[in-house]
């Protein structure tokens, strides 16, 4: 074919195909006809049989074959089983005076999802957006003194982090290596740390946690309520006092414009464009006077 005719090839093809369509009695749907639902028959639309596999795809596939899942391992390739040893605060021994089986006597398990009106009314089921019920995942109705895993294996309350780690495995990895959570120390319940220094009693210095030696960490449930695990807002401690003779700065307005929000040099001339930009932060920032 001559080179100057090459751009016309698609048009020629369209004309030829259209002619063939007309010759074969094809109708255009919509002009008073029943729409042809069978238009999407397999033969008319080409189905891509196999995805294209170029060299990179094959290499990637082979590379990923011998590779562990990254997110469950540290950068050094340690799994949570290889974490440094640690201890957790115990929970099971506190249950001996009032075990769950006092009431849950295993004779009858009411598995119906319902609003709790008699007991455990304080529980708010917000875990997972409220999609769990007691006996779905965590509790076994027949053995309430222990928790239960997905594979229906009992889990002691002292090892409840294993239960949490079934879904939150990545957070569990952080926790066993020390990147999440807190070591046991002077304050048994992290939520109840007093707000002001006058109320702080850190006199018992033996209770302060250690950074070396034995690692004793808080369990998941000492910070997160298992039934409603999102951390609730706190009341903040008082702000620092403003130095005598000065007023606290006014609450900041909008933050200074981002570099990508600043208008560039416009046609009106550089000084005219720069002046409002330089004044914008100055209007909000100093504000040394209380409004």
């Amino acid at each position: 074919m001559r080179p100057h005719l090459q751009p016309l090839v698609p048009f020629a093809l369209i004309v030829l195909l259209g002619g063939a369509w007309g010759l074969l009695g094809g109708k255009v749907p919509g002009d008073g006809m029943v729409p042809r639902l069978q238009a999407a028959e397999p033969t008319s639309t080409p189905v891509r049989a196999t995805p294209p596999r170029n060299k990179d795809d094959i290499e990637l596939e082979q590379m990923m074959k011998g590779r562990k899942a990254i997110r469950a391992f540290t950068v050094r390739g340690q799994s949570i089983a290889e974490a440094p040893p640690f201890k957790v605060e115990t929970r099971q021994d506190k249950m001996q005076f009032y075990p769950c089986t006092n009431c849950h006597d295993n004779q009858f398990v009411d598995r119906r999802v319902r609003k709790l009106t008699e007991e455990h009314r304080e529980l708010v089921f917000e875990h997972g957006g409220g999609r769990f019920w007691c006996y779905d995942v965590c509790h076994n109705g027949r053995d309430m003194n222990r928790l239960i895993s997905y594979r229906r294996q009992p889990i002691s309350y002292d090892e409840s982090y294993k239960l949490c780690g079934q879904c939150h495995f990545e957070r569990q990895k952080d926790w066993v290596f020390g990147g999440h959570g807190k070591r046991l120390g002077a304050f048994a319940v992290p939520r109840n740390i007093p707000e002001k220094y006058e109320e702080l009693k850190v006199a018992d210095r033996q209770a302060i946690g250690t950074w070396q030696g034995e690692r004793v960490v808080h369990m998941c449930a000492s910070c997160h309520n298992p039934h409603s695990p999102a951390i609730k807002p706190y009341t903040p401690s008082p702000p620092p006092r403003v130095r005598l003779g000065l007023a606290p700065p006014a609450t900041r307005g909008a933050p200074a414009p981002k570099p990508w929000q600043k208008p560039g040099p416009s046609k009106g001339g550089a000084p005219a464009a720069i002046t409002p930009v330089s004044k914008a932060p100055a209007a909000g920032a100093p504000a040394g006077v209380k409004p």
Binding site: T74, V75, R76, P84, D174, F177, G178, G179, H180, G181, K182, R183, G185, A186, F187, P190, R191, I193, P194, E195, K196, Y197, E198, L200, V202, R205, I208, G209, T210, W211, Q212, G213, H218, C223, I231, P233, Y234, T235, P236, S237, P238, P239, P240, R241, V242, P248, P249, T251, R252, P255, A256, P281, A285
Partner: protein, 318 residues
């Protein structure tokens, strides 16, 4: 004429009866005088409860790094006496040396920090900062999400509840730089970096010029414009010479990673008091420590890293 030969031998020897009495009397007098001075000084010191002698002793004491152990003990005796006299508390001043093979590092999770400021209060209680001067080592900044311009930060925030939507919180304390500009700026070398990485201040050697405050890019140092006053029952009596011992007026102080705790293997007070568990402390030379896990596996950054101060305080996100 006839007397001369008789007296000559005595004069030659220099021990006539007269001179013997004279010199002996003078020696006795001098010995008595010098013997009496310490006794009198003791009486004077006891009369004002060692106030004058302690002040003079503190004035003439040497730099902490150049003191002999005995001089350190004398200085500690002066400090404890002064605390007993002025505040009525019995404090213990430790001089725990840096631990071998330990460099302290700190990491703070700004995804977890909610601006609760419990760390600030625990720090004040632990480190004997003046209650009237209200010196606080930790400054919790409130920033708009997506904004890292510290000029927009607000550390006087006081909402009902934290965290506020659209905000994040970033506590700043002394970052214990490995290349500390404050140490370079100090004209009398009253502040230095210990082998375990903590930048400390000798409060007796500090002249209060505040050059270090000007040099610090993190606003980490505080100046005692007044004598720190603490109610007797709130004084933390477990102190360290380079840490939370009573400070005089007119000296600079700063966060020292709770040196009185951490050199005994304990955790800093701010970490203990954090209800969110955002803070991680440990030995960055120990490959199995918590902080090493954070540094290796998390997205970390250091504040104003481009200044080359090499802080040993990392911020990280989940």
């Amino acid at each position: 004429m006839s007397m001369r030969p008789e007296t000559q031998p005595a004069e030659r020897s220099g021990w006539s009866r007269r001179s013997l009495l004279k010199r002996g009397g003078m020696l006795t007098f001098l010995a008595g005088l010098f013997g009496a001075v310490p006794a009198v000084a003791q009486k004077v010191a006891e009369a004002d409860d060692h106030a004058l002698s302690d002040a003079v002793g503190a004035l003439f004491q040497k730099h902490y790094q150049k003191m002999t152990p005995e001089e350190v003990q004398e200085a500690i005796a002066r400090i404890t006496r002064t605390a007993k006299r002025e505040q009525g508390v019995d404090i213990t001043v430790a001089t725990d040396p840096p631990l071998q093979g330990v460099i302290f590092g700190y990491a703070l999770n700004i995804s977890k920090c909610k601006g609760v400021r419990r760390c600030v209060e625990a720090c004040v209680a632990e480190n004997n900062q003046g209650r009237e001067s209200q010196i606080q080592y930790i400054r919790v900044l409130e920033l708009e999400k997506g904004d890292m311009n510290l000029n927009d930060a607000d550390h006087y925030f006081a909402p009902e509840l934290v965290p506020q939507p659209g905000k994040f919180y970033m506590p700043i304390q002394c970052l214990q730089c490995d290349n500390p500009p404050c140490v370079i700026a100090c004209p009398v070398q009253a502040t230095w970096k210990e082998p375990d990485g903590i930048v400390v201040v000798d409060y007796n050697w500090c002249i209060g010029c505040r050059y270090c405050m000007a040099a610090c890019p993190y606003w980490a140092r505080r100046f005692n414009f007044s004598q720190p006053k603490i109610p007797k029952e709130q004084v933390n009596t477990d102190t360290h010479y380079l840490g939370n011992r009573p400070r005089p007026r007119g000296v600079v102080e700063k966060c020292h990673f709770c040196i009185q705790r951490t050199r005994k293997g304990r955790l800093p007070a701010c970490l203990e008091a954090c209800p969110t568990g955002a803070r991680v402390f440990g030995n960055i030379l120990d490959p199995n420590s918590d902080i090493r896990y954070v540094l290796e596996n998390k997205t970390v950054f250091r504040l104003k890293e481009e200044l080359g101060t090499e802080p040993k305080f990392w911020y990280y996100t989940d």
